[in-house]
Subunit: 226 residues, 2 copies
DNA sequence: CGAATGCTTCGACTAAGATCGAAGTATGAA
DNA sequence: TTCATACTTCGATCTTAGTCGAAGCATTCG
């Protein structure tokens, strides 16, 4: 009868507070167990289990069994992008669940957006790459230039491996705190992994915040001048 | 207690089937009355009225009184972008409400995405503008080049007026049928208005589909070669 | 082999909210 | 003024689904 995709199903999955809390926790990028997710949502394990089954059936989550643990994670990049776009709208209307506290500035400075860097630092990184003509817009969203590719490989990122996968290498993702775009896609993920592997940045426990070390700050500023 | 924006509230607003149907109808770009929206959703006027009040309180809709009619519309571009991103996810998981019928190809070819052109034609238009270097990526998403500006003004679009408003002129919007970006923002809206004013294209009644006339097809192909 | 941990399933309770009939308000037309 | 249209508010009903206790699998460890 109606035309177009069914958004009500997805909306109702996101619309329950317990499920929304779990999804927000999973935006931190780590795979989490039902027990951990139940704690995040403030509900019992039984209830969490039923929610997780629904989220998985709806295609938002995937699970991986490992011993007697089950690890849940967001199923695709698209899920992260979709959630971030909803967060963007919610934030712009003052719909926040937290009283602005000490954690807030840290989140705005640098945080994980599922698997890549977001916040002020994420936006600065993309700006800098574009200013240096290492990334440009093509028909299919963003693309690495030859210069960009050389730069990326010099940093030790395996470009060939990214190329092989069917995932888009570069994507834009709308930042809810900055209200501008930052870099997502497999390259975005590779950059964040690089920063952490090099010891330039650390993920905070139970938070989406990313804390840069002093050397990390310096390296980041040199790599991505403003 | 939790950090980050409250996505549950927005999700629950979108999550009710009746409200989702109304929002989808409003993605057609026309402002609609409660009576019309009730018909789209298949509910009585009383129920629709209560839903519309909630959507307005949540910031998704605005209303404009005109005589004894009330016209509801999506409140901002952001709402359209958010809904389209959810539709993108839903469509990629086969969550469609319609049995693929004769209307479907028309929608994929060209349709309204709130206030701008989407579908194959929307994507082709952005591709062509980028290939001709009339639009490029800057730090802040897309931007018109000088060449692009001249082109736009030659077509009769009032660039100065677009510039004055606080709305972004160019924006990307992820297309759910093509799964690539097309042009949103005030320029995207201006282009669609132009096509309709020139008689190149018409909006179908009660549908998001856009039908190009023969002269419209020809003009479009010349303006935006592949 | 128990015993313990991690998780799911079942069943019953409860509360939130979607729905509509009926009545009330506002605008416009005759 | 009177009637009609468009919409909102109120109140009652009823379904849906979120919740947790209890019990049941599965896996690991001693």
């Amino acid at each position: 009868m109606k035309e177009g995709p069914d958004i009500a199903l997805i909306g109702s999955l996101i619309g329950d507070p317990a499920r929304a809390n779990m999804l927000t926790a999973l935006m931190g990028g780590r795979a989490l167990t039902p027990t951990e997710l139940a704690a995040h949502a403030g509900i019992t394990l039984q209830t969490a289990s039923s929610h997780l089954a629904k989220l998985e059936a709806g295609g938002l989550l995937t699970q991986r069994k490992q011993g007697r643990h089950r690890y849940y994670a967001l199923s695709e990049d698209e899920v992260g992008l979709m959630l971030e776009s909803i967060m963007g709208f919610a934030a712009s209307h003052g719909l926040t669940r937290h009283q602005p506290g000490p954690k807030d500035p840290a989140l705005r400075k640098a945080r994980v957006c599922y698997n890549h860097l977001a916040g002020d630092y994420g936006v600065r990184m993309l700006d800098s790459l574009v200013a240096a003509r290492q990334i440009v817009l093509t028909g299919e969203d963003l693309a690495l230039t030859d210069a960009g590719r050389a730069r990326v490989e010099a940093l030790g990122i395996d470009y060939a491996a990214l190329k092989k996968s069917r995932r888009p290498i570069c994507r834009t993702c709308l930042d809810w705190s900055e209200r501008r775009s930052h870099l997502a896609g497999s390259l975005g993920e590779a950059f964040l992994t690089l920063f952490i592997d090099k010891g330039w940045a650390n993920r905070e426990q139970n938070s989406r915040a990313i804390r840069f070390t002093d050397t990390g700050e310096k390296a980041f500023s040199e790599l991505f001048p403003q």
